[in-house]
Amino acid sequence: MSQVMPTLIHGAYLASTVLLILGLHNLRSPASAIGGNRLAALGMLVAVLATVFNSAILNLELILLGLIVGALIGSLAARFVQMTAMPKLVGLFNGFGGGASALVAIGEYGRLISTSAAPDLYTMLTILLGMFIGAVTLSGSLVAFGKLQGLVAGAPIMFRFQHVTHGLLMLVFLAGAGLVVQAPDTWGLFLALIGLAFVLGALFVLPIGSADMPVVISLLNACSGLAASATGFIVQNPLLIVAGALVGASGVILTQMMCTSMNRSLAHVLFGTFGTSGCTADTGRAQAEHVVRRVDVEEAAMMLAYARTVVIVPGYGMAVAQAQHAVYELAAQLKGHGVEVTYAIHPVAGRMPGHMNVLLAEANVAYTDLADMEVINPVFAHTDVVLVIGANDIVNPAARSDPQSPIYGMPILDVDKAHHTIVIKRSLNPGFAGIDNPLFYEKNTMMLFGDARTVVNGLSSEVKAL
C-alpha cells in the first residue's frame, strides 16, 4: 500500500515498539512506574502520528472526529471513575479494545471482497480469527461489566446441557468459517458468524458468578491483547503483533496469579460453580457450636492505642465501605501514640490484583508501609494486635488446617498467630468463597461488628480522646 516514506514510518514503529517495552519494564517499581506509563503513552502517540502522516488517509475529518470523541470519552472516564470501580472500568475498556479489533477485521473483510481479487487463505483465516477473538472479548466484557454493575444477574446463569450447547455452537462457528473461507464474498454468512461469535462470548461469561468476574476480566484483558495481535496479522503490522502479545502475556500471568492465590484452577473458575451453595448451612452449624467474643469500640481503641505493634489487614469490606481514608486517619492517630503500624497486603485481597494497594495509595498511605504476605507472615507471632478490616477468606486458617475446606492450601495471612486479633465486619456472614471462618471463634479473636467506615471512624475518635 501507500509507502510514501517507508524508512521513516519503519523507524517510528520501531521506536514505538521500544518505548512500549521500556514503559512496561519501568512498571517494576512504584517509583519508576509513572515514567513508564508515560513512556508507553509516548510510544502510542508516535505510532499514531506516524500512521496518520504516512497513510494517504482519505477522510481525515472523520478520523479526527473519531479521535476527538474517543479521547473525550476516555479522559472523562479516567478522570471521574472511583478507585473502587476500577475492575468495572478495566472490564469495559477490554471490551472496547476487543470491539475495535473486531471492527478492523470486519472493515478489512469488506475492503478485500469489494476489490476484485479473491483474498487468499492466510488473509481470510487471520480476518476470521481477529473478528472472533475481538467479538468474544467485546460481548464477554459487556456481560462481565453488567454483572459487576448489577445490570445482569450476578448469580451464575445456567441451564441444562449448557456445555453441550456451547460446544455445538462452537462447531457451527467453525463450519461457517470453513464456508466463508471457501466462498469469501458472502456477506450474509460473515455477518451471521459475527453474531455467533458475539453470542458465544456472552454465553461464556453468563454462567460464571459475579464474584469470579475479576478472573474473567483479567482473562479478557489477555484476549483483548491477542485480538490486537491477530489484527496485526491482518493488516501486516508487526507493531500490533508485539503490543498485543505484551498485553496477552500480562493478562495470562495475572490470571494465573489470581488462580494460584485462590488455590483454584482456571478451568474450575470458568466451568465450575463456586461461591453459591453450602455457605448458609456451614455458617449455621459453626455459629451454634462455637463461642464468639465481642468487643466494643472503646475497648478496641484502648487495645490499639496501648499496643506496641499493630498490623492492619484490609479486605474487600474496606473497599465496599470506602473506609480507606478512615483507616489512614486511624493509623495516623495510632502512630501519634507511638504505635508501630504496618499494613499487610494479601495478593488477592479485595476483588482485583493489587486492589488494596490502589485504595490505600488513594488515601495517602505510603507504599513503603505496606508489607507483602511473605514478609509479614513471620511477623504476626510478635505482633500485639492485628486489626482485620472487612477481610475474611484471606485470613481463614481453615486454608492451613482443614483439608476438607474448599480453600485448603490457599496461602493466607496468619493473623491467628498474633497475640490479639480484632475483626471488623458487619456479621458472621462468609465472604467471597462462601465458607465459614474458624478465626472468628478463636480464643484471641475479638469481633467488632459494624460497617467498616463507621467503626474505624469511631476508633479514631476514641483513640484521639485517650
Binding site: L20, L24, L27, R28, S29, P30, I34, R38, A41, M44, T51, S55, I57, L58, N59, L60, I63, L65, G66, V69, G70, A71, G74, S75, A77, A78, M86, L89, F93, N94, F96, A100, G107, G110, R111, S114, N221, A227, A228, T231, G232, V235, Q236, L239, L240, I241, A243, A245, A249, S250, M352, P353, G354, V358, A361, N364, Y367, T368, D369, D372
Partner: protein, 100 residues
C-alpha cells in the same frame, strides 16, 4: 536460505519473541502495581487504533467509513482512558518519609 520475509513465519516469530519479552517483564512487576498494570496494558491493547486508522482512512464506501469510525472511537477511548487512569492511579502511590 530462508526468506525472512515470508509473512506468516515472520509474524509468528515476532509474536513469540514479544510473548517472551512480556512474560519476562511482567513476572518482575510487584503485586503492589497489579491494578495499574492491568489498566496500563489495557491502554496498550488499544494499539489496534493503528489498524483502525488504516481502515477508516481507506475509501471503501459508507459501511467502511462507519466501521472504521467506530473502530477509531472505541480504540481511542481505550488508549486515552487507559493511560490517563493509570497515570492518575500511579500518582497516588507515595513513598514513606522514613523509608528509603
Amino acid at each position: 536460505m530462508i526468506q525472512m520475509a515470508e509473512g506468516l513465519y515472520g509474524g509468528v516469530l515476532v509474536f513469540v519473541l514479544a510473548m517472551f519479552v512480556g512474560f519476562e517483564i511482567i513476572t518482575k512487576v510487584p503485586p503492589t502495581l497489579y491494578t495499574p498494570l492491568m489498566s496500563g496494558t489495557n491502554a496498550i491493547s488499544g494499539i489496534v487504533l493503528i489498524g483502525a486508522l488504516v481502515v477508516a482512512g481507506t475509501d471503501s464506501g459508507t459501511i467502511g467509513a462507519v466501521v472504521g469510525f467506530g473502530a477509531v472511537v472505541l480504540a481511542t477511548v481505550n488508549v486515552a482512558g487507559g493511560f490517563l487512569v493509570t497515570d492518575r492511579m500511579l500518582r497516588m502511590f507515595k513513598k514513606g518519609r522514613n523509608q528509603p
